[in-house]
């Protein structure tokens, strides 16, 4: 589970003016090239880890949610993705073998791949892990001029979201997206609209998806032990019958001989 000091972000669509500062600050921090003339037209890709797009009558950010129990990290066979105690889900690129199971597993469709490259890597937001380590905010939160992206301890952000609900009755659909979804995420989203109207996946259970796998993986030792005993037993019985038959056959033959 998330520890209380894990850092996170609170995204608030009702405060977003679509200036694009977060998206450009992200590119600056990650040294990513410009991908379109209008920042608001950008889509998440191996060259864009954070977007702000107009979705209907709102501006909506998309980025890695930094799940408390990340599907991507659970899926990765080589532990190239890791949830750190500080909050970020980081990527150890030297481990990656490029199976792309993380991309399949992520419920938010976040990890992107460098399809064009000959030694491709998975690319996604890392919640500015290096800046956090220095005590700085994420690049996007540093650049945001309205508080539509707020940085802080996840607990404090939940409190902040509730305070905003209380202070502005009617302004929000009072639900903190990411508080329970997929077992909780470090990036939280509040809005006046439903998640599906913002292009976010709806109907996410509060059970972290990795638990669905672990439940099965957990019984493997039992299967192996039961199976080994069972198969060994069957082998012993089936083949012993032969031995007995053979012995008896031999016995019969010898008695007949006398």
């Amino acid at each position: 589970m998330l520890n209380t000091t894990a850092k996170g972000l609170l995204l608030d669509t009702t405060r977003c003016i679509g200036c694009g500062a977060c998206a450009l600050a992200c590119k600056e921090r990650n040294g990513l090239p410009k991908t379109s003339d209008a920042v608001l037209e950008d889509k998440l890709s191996d060259k864009t880890f954070s977007t702000v797009n107009q979705v209907g009558n709102r501006y909506v950010r998309r980025m890695c949610m930094h799940c408390a129990t990340p599907s991507c990290a659970s899926a990765c066979p080589v532990a190239a993705l890791e949830k750190t105690a500080a909050g970020p889900v980081i990527y150890h690129e030297s481990k990656c073998m490029g199976c792309r199971y993380c991309m399949i597993a992520c419920p938010f469709g976040i990890p992107k791949y460098e399809w064009e490259k000959k030694a491709p890597l998975v690319r996604k937001c890392d919640l500015c892990a290096d800046r956090l380590a220095k005590g700085l905010k994420t690049a996007c939160a540093t650049a945001c001029p309205t508080g539509a992206t707020t940085f802080g301890d996840r607990e404090a952000l939940v409190a902040e979201a509730r305070a905003r609900f209380a202070a502005n009755p009617g302004r929000y659909r009072e639900h903190i997206y990411g508080f329970e979804e997929v077992g909780g995420t470090s990036v939280l989203l509040i809005s006046d609209a439903k998640p599906e109207e913002l292009g976010y996946p709806a109907g996410l259970d509060e059970t972290p998806p990795p638990h669905l796998t672990w439940r099965v993986l957990n019984i493997i030792p039992d299967i192996v032990m039961t199976g080994a005993v069972l198969l060994g037993g069957i082998y012993w019985i089936r083949n012993r019958r032969d031995e007995v038959d053979a012995a008896e056959g031999h016995h019969d033959a010898s008695t007949k001989g006398h």
């Binding site: 600056e28 990290a73 073998m97 913002l198 032969d242």
Partner: protein
Amino acid sequence: MPKLALPRLTFWRGVLLAILAAGTYATFLRVFKGLAGSTNLTDAFPWGLWIGFDILCGVALAAGGFTISATVYIFNLEKFRPIVRPAILTAFLGYVLVVVALLFDLGRPWNVWHPLVMWNPHSVMFEVGWCVTLYTTVLALEFSPVVFERFKMTKTLHVLHVIMPILVVLGVLLSTLHQSSLGSFYLIVPTKLHALWYSPLLPVYFFLTALTLGCAMTIVESFLSNRAFGKELDMELLVPLGRVALLILGVTAVIRFADFRHRGILGLPFAPTYESRLFLAEMIIGVLAPAVLLALPKVRQHRTGLFLSALLIVMGVVMNRLNVSITGMERSSGEIYVPAFTEIAITLSVVGVGFLVFALAVKYLPVFPEHEMKDARPPVAPDALHVAAQPIRSLPMPAIAVVALAFVAAGALGADGVRRREVVPGPPAPAGTPALAAALASFEAPAERTFPQAPDSPGPVSFRHASHVDASAPDCLSCHGNSYSFLGRTQAPPAGLMHDTKHCGGCHDGTSAFSVEDDCAACHKSE
């Protein structure tokens, strides 16, 4: 010793050559143009034909190895012994080819060994990686007596004979684990895989279908071996396999029915969607038709009838794996995936190489021990008089009707399904342009910034966002999009250069804003 002669170019050899030529070209593209230049994979659809067919089907199709070796060595059903070798050889080749195909699919194939040293026990793929590695080793050992026999190495043979039961138990366990785990791959995506295929029972389904397939593949291989090499197995062995396949088909169908009922989706297969049509096609080809055929004793005991039933099962499992990995994942991805020419060429080549190596092994190794074979003949093209297959028309009419109906129904459903294939966008977002009044109320211009002072400067300069930004329509990117950092990473302009066009002078030129040459005190605070 076989005579050295150029092989004759028959039709199938020609096909194989064409496939391998296309595969070579595709390999060239994969190596030099990367995944983008050789596949239709995208960020939204990162797993395609190579995972869906080469890996998921490849492993399942190799299930004959563990089913048969368990039957013979563990259940001690000696009469099946003649099939052990071909079954193990096919399995071994299958796994080697799966690994080869995986190398094509991995973005960084040179790191394929990483799961063996960089552990993540929470990952199904980590578990599968280990199982497949170990099982391929076990298969190699299980098959090795054939090679040692060829070279008459009796001591080694003896050791292998002693440890064989352990190897077999190990092989069965490893197979059970990874066959089912291929289904567990998808347990983590309850919101992405279509409900027709997503089920908490995915691993159970994958295991049971692999078992059925183990029986079916043995029948199919035996039939094809007869056609190709004139070597064939006794119907007495194959008919019970058909019966076992029927039994497991039934069990799986009952479990699936209960599962669907439990999840309240009994009606879903009949919804007018792409997925439902392909699901029904899968059920008809892979479950219904073979079950009906195998239930008829006259068909079961008929060479061609048995072969057809087994072939349907094989096709059904292939459809199932492709439905899980492609059909079922499309809607949530918001994209339609069609494999590229290169993806198909590699896949066909992998299959072709499999056939080729199998044929060579049968020719040069004692895979089908002659004295144990019925109808064993020298490997010549089957002549008209001695084709073991019974003609289809000798099958009972209802059986022919079932096969024909199954293909027509599945074809029609498939065609109708593909016609309905579409990307369904999520619910529409409320229309209109963003109303920014409320959001702008929380706009807060960043703090002041004081720049270093040059020796000849009349006083220090502070930059105030407040006086540069229109708080009713802030346009951050007009400055930050170009020369100015968001993160304060760019250095403050060197003292003395503030007036140039790259800095304040860029706008303060007397046209856009008052000129830097105008009133010094406007910016430089004295004292």
